[in-house]
């Protein structure tokens, strides 16, 4: 009976991991749009710092970013307010993971936006469609299709990176496996269980992604390529 109790806590921890991953994905996507916009900006004041930030984020180990945000945010708040405020590990985790995700996703988005031929924008303006409307209705839907494979890959990386937050005290899948392993002295069993759950989540996502890719490509991109050929 004890085993089922442990299995239950592991399942709950798995749910937390999924929540963490989705929260980071949402925040990360928003950040990625800002990063991509900043990098492509005409104004040097905007494009330079963004490019530097993205380059630095991609050059640092993920673990360092997570620890930096978690311990660093406390220090920054201490300097600013003079009080000892601890930022919750979950929040720090989401911030760190979304920053890392955004740094990579911004590259994908930038590439995708550039992959949409300029003729599309020109055609829209020739038809008297306003610039913003053309961007939202014409360019963006095409860019999303180009970006999808890269973004889904990044999502899988993000999912695996969530394991890092176990090091700053979030009771996620890995942390729970660690606790259970310590309690039962069955390290292999529980770490293997955690690994299996990660694997199942990854495989399910891959399947969903494949279906999504197929749907999107059959909807337009394939036709467009066929028409241009």
């Amino acid at each position: 009976m004890a085993l089922s109790g442990y299995a239950l806590t592991l399942a709950e921890a798995g749910w937390l991991t999924i929540q963490l991953a989705f929260a980071s994905l949402l925040v990360g996507l928003v950040l990625a749009v800002f990063f991509a916009g900043g990098e492509m900006s005409r104004y040097r004041v905007l494009s330079w710092p963004t490019t530097a930030l993205v380059t630095i984020l991609r050059g640092l180990p993920e673990l360092l970013v997570v620890l930096f945000i978690f311990f660093g945010s406390t220090q920054v708040l201490f300097i600013l307010t003079g009080d000892y405020v601890e930022v919750s590990p979950f929040l720090s985790g989401v911030i760190a993971l979304s920053l890392i995700f955004a740094a990579y996703a911004a590259q994908t988005l930038r590439g995708a936006l550039k992959a949409v031929p300029n003729g599309q924008r020109e055609a829209a303006s020739a038809l008297g469609i306003s610039k913003q409307r053309a961007f939202i209705r014409v360019v963006l839907p095409q860019a999303v299709r180009h970006a999808l494979p890269g973004l889904t890959n990044q999502w899988l990386v993000l999912l695996k990176d969530t394991a890092l937050v176990s090091l700053i005290g979030v009771t996620d899948l890995l942390k729970q496996a660690q606790l259970t392993a310590a309690a039962t002295h069955e390290s292999f069993t529980w770490y293997a269980c955690a690994a299996a759950i990660y694997l199942v989540i990854t495989l399910i996502t891959q399947r969903v992604v494949k279906r999504m890719d197929k749907k999107f490509s059959s909807q337009g991109l394939g036709n467009a390529q066929g028409a241009s050929a």
Partner: protein
């Protein structure tokens, strides 16, 4: 943070680089072997390679490190065997996890490069009457060269991944950084300097690989 701390970080840097180099060597060799088994569809062995790839690309590196370091101790038989001499050492476990991880990702890269060989080259070899072995010895060197740009990314990912070895008591850059942070509470400076170490090495790796790419892919420009 004082001068002594900076020297400690340099010591950590040496450990990080050693760990990267050894894992890279082991991982790359393993990846090449696995790629060959996948290409030749060696019975049973190529299933093993497939399984290894799914396992190591589908789970977090941190879990792999913990599983390899803490896992085997559960079994009495392993603890009494000759392997225990190796498996009880954190450095070996970290290296093994990193090597297997990079081998799994590299195999995918190499296989992708192999599949990208144009059909015309196969036909050309066939037309010249080459057998499978001769064909591969002609085509593989080019496929490997085409994999260099993607492989450089993998090397940088591996170097960043070595930071996880600090979680199993190895004193690499990250290990020292965490210790100094606990001693001084000067998080922003300590992790900032540690981050600088990683950025500099990654910068050097990027530039070095750009050179290698230019040389390795020179054959593509000429035709």
């Amino acid at each position: 943070m004082n001068q002594q701390h900076v020297w400690q970080l340099f010591e950590g840097l040496v450990t990080s680089i050693e760990l990267t180099a050894v894992s890279l060597l082991v991982g790359c060799t393993l990846a090449l072997l696995m790629t060959v088994t996948l290409i030749l569809r060696t019975p049973i062995v190529h299933w093993l390679s497939r399984g290894l790839i799914t396992l190591f690309t589908g789970t977090p590196l941190l879990v792999q490190i913990f599983l390899i370091y803490y896992g085997p101790g559960q079994f009495e038989a392993v603890r009494e065997s000759v392997f225990w001499l190796w498996l009880s050492q954190p450095w070996f476990c970290a290296m093994l996890a990193l090597a297997l991880n990079t081998a799994a990702y590299s195999t995918q890269l190499f296989q992708g490069a192999f599949n990208a060989i144009p059909a015309g080259q196969w036909h050309a070899c066939q037309a010249l009457g080459m057998d499978k072995k001769a064909t591969l010895s002609v085509l593989l060197p080019y496929a490997i060269r085409r994999a260099v740009p993607a492989y450089s990314n993998e090397v940088i990912l591996l170097f960043k991944g070595t930071s996880l070895a600090s979680t199993i008591t190895i004193m690499d850059i990250m290990g020292y950084a965490q210790r100094i942070n606990a001693q001084t509470y000067d998080t922003l400076v300590v992790f900032g300097v540690a981050g600088l170490f990683y950025l500099v090495i990654n910068g050097i790796l990027t530039i070095a690989f750009r050179r290698v790419e230019k040389k390795a892919l020179a054959f593509e420009v000429t035709h």
